[in-house]
């Protein structure tokens, strides 16, 4: 009797949880996003200014993601490469584009296109 009612209440609890979470039964995120999207928005708003702060924010977040063992999202390293090129840190641009390509082979042709342009 006890067993049955406990089983029933667990069942009811599960049903309630399913209804309350609706469609948004979210698993763990695939990526450690950190400030990526807000920093992309800062880049668009700044019209080329403020890239030092944006670089600092993204570099700091790389350490956080590493400490947690979480993957950085697609585009993260390529965006950092763009910021380095705006800031005149030429030597660091190539490395970021190469990292993007290594982590996400889907980006290979675009990264190669950028690396070719960058060498000129």
């Amino acid at each position: 009797m006890m067993m049955l009612s406990r089983g029933m209440s667990i069942g009811a609890g599960l049903l309630l949880a399913a209804v309350m979470s609706g469609c948004a039964n979210q698993p763990k995120p695939l990526y450690h996003w950190g400030p990526y999207q807000p920093q992309v928005y800062e880049y668009f708003k700044g019209d080329g200014a403020g890239e030092q702060e944006q670089i600092a924010a993204l570099e700091e977040n790389i350490q956080k993601a590493r400490a947690k063992g979480e993957a950085l999202p697609p585009g993260y390293h390529a965006h950092l490469g763009l910021l380095y090129s705006k800031a005149g840190k030429e030597d660091q641009v190539k490395q970021q584009f190469e990292t993007e390509k290594a982590l996400f082979p889907e980006s290979s042709s675009f990264m190669d296109f950028l690396l070719r342009k960058f060498k000129k």
Binding site: V19, P73, F110
Partner: protein, 222 residues
């Protein structure tokens, strides 16, 4: 016996889906999408049909997360925008007019996302000021130019407002909202909610991409 037990289970699952509000829409035809199986998506800077000039880049900065979390490689939106600019294209309309085959050649993307921001910003009326963002999207195969999926989503501050405080309450709330709307970038917040609704994998939305553990399991009850 076993068959009727299965039927019971299935109907219970059906009740849960109905209660959670997922299974009521007419299902989208995913035939072309499932044949194409895109791995990577190039998000093009959105067209802006709203009066607010911020709409294009506010929306563009919010759309990578839902698509990447759905399991796609999403091209770096700012690097893509910069590439267009260095090739002399500065208006989203010009960027979206580049032929799919050319986009495929430059970016190597399987599919492109064409977005139009239909509404963005604050609508002032006597008693309220609501921030609303409405956007439409089309996912197109860049090798064939074929439409794979299209959708529309909106997000508004009006969804959460409780107008039960009578006339005085409504007037006070209108004043507070106007101050809050002018002080903060509420439009950008609702652009984020609209992006999430538009571009995450859900019934009638985009399908899960190859980087998701749920790839190929769309429509299977979790």
């Amino acid at each position: 016996m076993r068959f009727s037990w299965m039927k019971g289970l299935l109907s219970a699952v059906g009740v849960v889906l109905l209660a959670s509000g997922c299974a009521t829409q007419k299902p989208y035809d995913y035939t072309a999408y499932k044949q194409s199986r895109p791995k990577s998506v190039l998000i093009l800077p959105p067209l802006n049909s709203s009066p607010d000039v911020k709409a294009t880049y506010s929306m563009l900065a919010q759309m990578s997360t839902p698509l990447a979390e759905a399991g796609y490689y999403v091209f770096p939106v700012a690097v893509v925008d910069e590439t267009f600019r260095q090739n002399g294209l500065t208006a989203p309309g010009d960027m979206q007019a580049v032929p799919p085959a050319k986009l495929h050649e430059i970016f190597g993307a399987d599919a492109a996302l064409y977005v139009d921001v239909k509404r963005y910003g604050v609508t002032y009326t006597v008693l309220s000021s609501d921030v609303t963002v409405v956007a439409e999207a089309k996912l197109v195969d860049l090798k064939t130019g074929q439409l794979l999926w299209d959708g529309r989503a909106s997000a508004s501050s009006a969804e959460q407002q409780n107008n039960s405080g009578g006339l005085v309450g409504m007037l006070v709330s209108a004043v507070i909202n106007q101050i809050a709307n002018s002080l903060t970038e509420k439009g950008h917040v609702y652009a984020g909610i609209a992006s999430q609704r538009l571009l995450s994998a859900h019934p009638n939305g985009v399908l899960y991409g190859p980087r998701s553990p749920r790839y190929g399991q769309d429509g299977v009850p979790q």
